[in-house]
């Protein structure tokens, strides 16, 4: 079956196509070259005047794993206020900050997203995370395994095991948990929280293991590089949300000595201590450092005003933030030998100085970091805002007048403390296509996603060219997933399963000997039960497994 998408205005940054009229042909779920004239075309979509991009990719969104479930259990009122009823195609569920798995998939697909990556899958929770992600329909999934606070790793580091052994362990974890990358959350800090430390700076030592976050970062970044994992180490750094943490972030950038690093939700790490309130924007300095260091990529973690819930592995920060829980209920818990988990509901208000400034800092970062290939559009769903606010965020970036209108409605002191009003930059559709498609695909090493070249998977989003970009990105005209039309005018028309992206890095299997001993002694499961094999993975609901190549 051959489908022709005729005459759309194509934005495909990987091939340097910036708003040119092209025809796209789809055969068997893939994009193909123009077929010869005698081949019969089964269906033609007339896309004249419409905008065609690859399916969007969300590089950092909490859609699976224990913490989302805790958020769901804890916030029944959030679900009551946003019920989603069943249709002839889709199943019922609920939405807003921590939507049900099914609603997550439908809403992402309706918005033109075709792949999403869960950033914090604890190895011990990997099975649960995969089961949950397997339930999410339509979109492709993947997850980063969370290391850096687990007892086994810290023991290795404390006993000065060589880098090779640690890399083998990291490789084993990726294989055993079917992950797509490695994330570190508050390196050493979650573990330090268990030993009664309430803050941990980059060069402070964890009192129990006697290691510093700096060592952890460097070791893991090296391991990621040695294993050839395409996505750089995904770092949620130290001191999240602490005024003055901008310096820690700059130190982190310098610490890795040129190794690739992805700093996630950097908005929460860009705060200074100037001004009367001892809270100011560090966006300018951070942007300068990111612009100067081509090894660094970031995603922003923009906040949006309204009720949401923060779910993070960073128990240290979540404990510090629980005083501001709204509604007043929260959970901070220990998760076996791996790490921890904290869920605190939060309401960002445009009347409050701090929240307003956070909002402005996120946008300042977007507008001051020049290379769209190294900055990704996220709200750190659901920590900054639920993912359904992406179209609004895109409009803020693309429309300066709208942005300044919004700026005039926030807290006056915050608005005058921010340089946002003086920033003229407006993102073009081409840049949006880079930061939501091409760049995430490149960063994750997805060769056949994020572009519209021949051989790529036919994940395609077609937008109506509307002046109001929020409307445009909320309801795409057509969304194709693997060549099938799944959504039309922002409504699901077909429900598919979506696949999982994983990696299979090479490592030395002898690491299993010491791991088996450790598992027998300390862990709640046996090593062989811990591992998730392909057969089991498919049984959790994924269509198929896409193994991405390692370098």
């Amino acid at each position: 079956m051959l489908i022709k998408l005729s005459g759309g205005t194509v934005y495909d940054p990987v091939h340097g196509i910036n708003g040119e009229q092209r025809d796209i042909y789809i055969r068997d779920g893939h994009i193909t070259r123009k077929p010869s004239a005698n081949v019969k075309i089964s269906k033609i979509y007339d896309l004249r005047g419409k905008i065609v991009m690859a399916g969007a990719i969300d590089i950092h969104t909490h859609i699976g794993g224990g913490k989302v479930n805790i958020a769901r259990i804890m916030l029944p009122e959030d679900h009551r206020n946003d019920p989603v009823s069943k249709t002839s195609l889709t199943r019922s569920g609920c939405g807003h900050a921590a939507p049900s798995t099914l609603t997550t998939g439908y809403r992402y697909a309706e918005m033109g997203y075709t792949a999403c990556f869960e950033p914090a899958m604890l190895p011990i929770n990997a099975r649960q995370a995969h089961m949950e992600m397997g339930d999410i329909p339509i979109i492709d999934k993947g997850a980063y395994a969370l290391l850096g606070n687990d007892d086994f790793f810290l023991r290795m580091l404390a006993s000065h095991k060589d880098q090779e052994a640690i890399s083998d362990y990291v490789g084993w974890i990726i294989n055993a948990t079917q992950a797509m990358g490695i994330k570190v959350v508050n390196p050493g800090g979650i573990s330090a929280f268990k030993f009664n430390q309430r803050k941990l700076n980059l060069d402070e030592t964890n009192v129990y293991y006697d290691v510093t976050p700096r060592e952890i970062l460097i070791t893991l970044a090296r391991a990621v590089r040695e294993l050839g994992i395409p996505h750089p180490l995904h770092v949620h750094g130290c001191n999240l949300g602490v005024p003055g943490n901008m310096q820690t972030t700059l130190d982190t950038i310098n610490a890795v000595e040129g190794m690739p690093l992805h700093l996630t939700h950097i908005q929460f790490h860009s705060y200074g201590t100037e001004g009367d309130r001892k809270f100011s924007s560090g966006a300018a300095q951070i942007s300068e450092a990111v612009n100067a260091n081509p090894n660094i990529s970031i995603d922003v973690g923009q906040i949006m005003f309204g009720q949401t819930v923060t779910a993070s592995g960073d128990t240290m920060l979540q404990y510090a933030g629980h005083w501001y829980a709204h509604p007043n209920k929260w959970v901070v818990m220990d998760i076996e030998c791996d790490a921890g988990c904290g869920v605190v509901p939060f309401k960002y208000s445009d009347k409050k100085f701090v929240h307003s400034l956070q909002w402005a800092i996120g946008l300042e970062l977007f507008l001051q970091i020049n290379d769209p290939w190294r900055i990704f559009l996220t709200t750190d769903h659901p920590n900054g805002a639920p993912f359904i606010s992406y179209p609004h965020l895109i409009r803020l970036l693309m429309d300066r007048t709208f942005r300044n209108d919004m700026l005039s409605t926030i807290n006056k002191k915050a608005a005058s403390a921010s340089i946002l009003g003086s920033l003229d930059r407006e993102y073009s559709l081409y840049e949006i296509a880079i930061m939501t498609r091409a760049a995430p695909a490149r960063s994750l090493g997805l060769k056949n996603r994020g572009h519209l070249g021949a051989g790529s998977a036919a994940d395609i989003t077609v937008y109506n060219d509307v002046k109001n970009r929020e409307t445009m990105f909320t309801k795409p005209a057509y969304v194709f997933k693997d060549g099938e039309l799944v959504a039309k005018n922002g409504k699901i028309v077909k429900v598919t399963n979506g696949s999982i992206h994983t990696l299979r890095p090479e490592y030395d299997k002898t690491i299993e000997r010491s791991l088996r001993e450790y598992f027998d002694r300390y862990q709640t499961v046996k090593l062989d039960n811990f591992r998730i094999n392909d057969e089991e993975l498919l049984s959790h609901g994924y269509d198929r497994i896409n193994i991405q190549p390692c370098a």
């Binding site: 259990i73 804890m74 916030l75 029944p76 009122e77 009551r80 509604p327 007043n328 209920k329």
Partner: protein, 276 residues
Amino acid sequence: MSPLTFKLNIIPEFTLDVSPLTPDKLLAKSQTQIKKINLRYGKQKISVDKLFSISGDNPENIKFLGSTEKLICIGQNMSRGNIDVQGNAGNFIGQYMQGGNINVQGNAGSWVGNSMTNGRIHINGNVDDYLGAGLPGDPYGMSDGLIYVSGNAGDRVGDRMRRGIIIICGMAGDYCGSRMIAGTIIVLDKAGKYSGFGMKRGTIILAKKPRHISATFKSCGNLKVQFLRLLFKQLSEMEQRLTLFREYGPEAHRFTGDLASNGKGEILILQTIKTG
């Protein structure tokens, strides 16, 4: 002006959500507009005129005639006016209510006055479980207002209640005032087991000695609790039928608890005034 009356023309098979029919929501609407309001009836949505015949014109006073226990969410979110229900009513009456009055002539279902923040509810019959409670997962239940039940109540009266008064003239089920945060519950007949289970603060006033008091409640003996006089006096002004002050004096047997939780709550068992 006569009360706006909704006479139920069918015998409903499924639950019928009448939450759009409150004084607040109907105030600015004409009768033709009201007829077109869609109500959730089981799985379908049905307009008002297919279910009710409407008469009267004063939306501040709403009357339901021929109501059955399938009518749910009566007076949800209302903040003013009166609703009079002739017949039985279903679950969730006066849910999230902020003010006004609801009168039910018959029995009512569970979750009466669920998380209400103010207003008054009178039930002339019996009610089911979770009177004045909150939905599962909510931090607290009823946070102000008054609920008066002439008949009996089911289990878990005032679960996680935070403020306000609940008066039950008949019996209460088990776990009366469970996990109560504060507020007052008065039961004039026997209460079930585990009254005040896990209560933090608040007062449960029982007119008759219950069959069972948890081991985590501590007896403080008979005391003169002077505030009872004030309370009963005030209640008789609010509700003529409540002449408690004639029967019960300030003397009461006081238990404090629940010691397993916070221990600042109390159960008062009233003593009748000895005459002559």
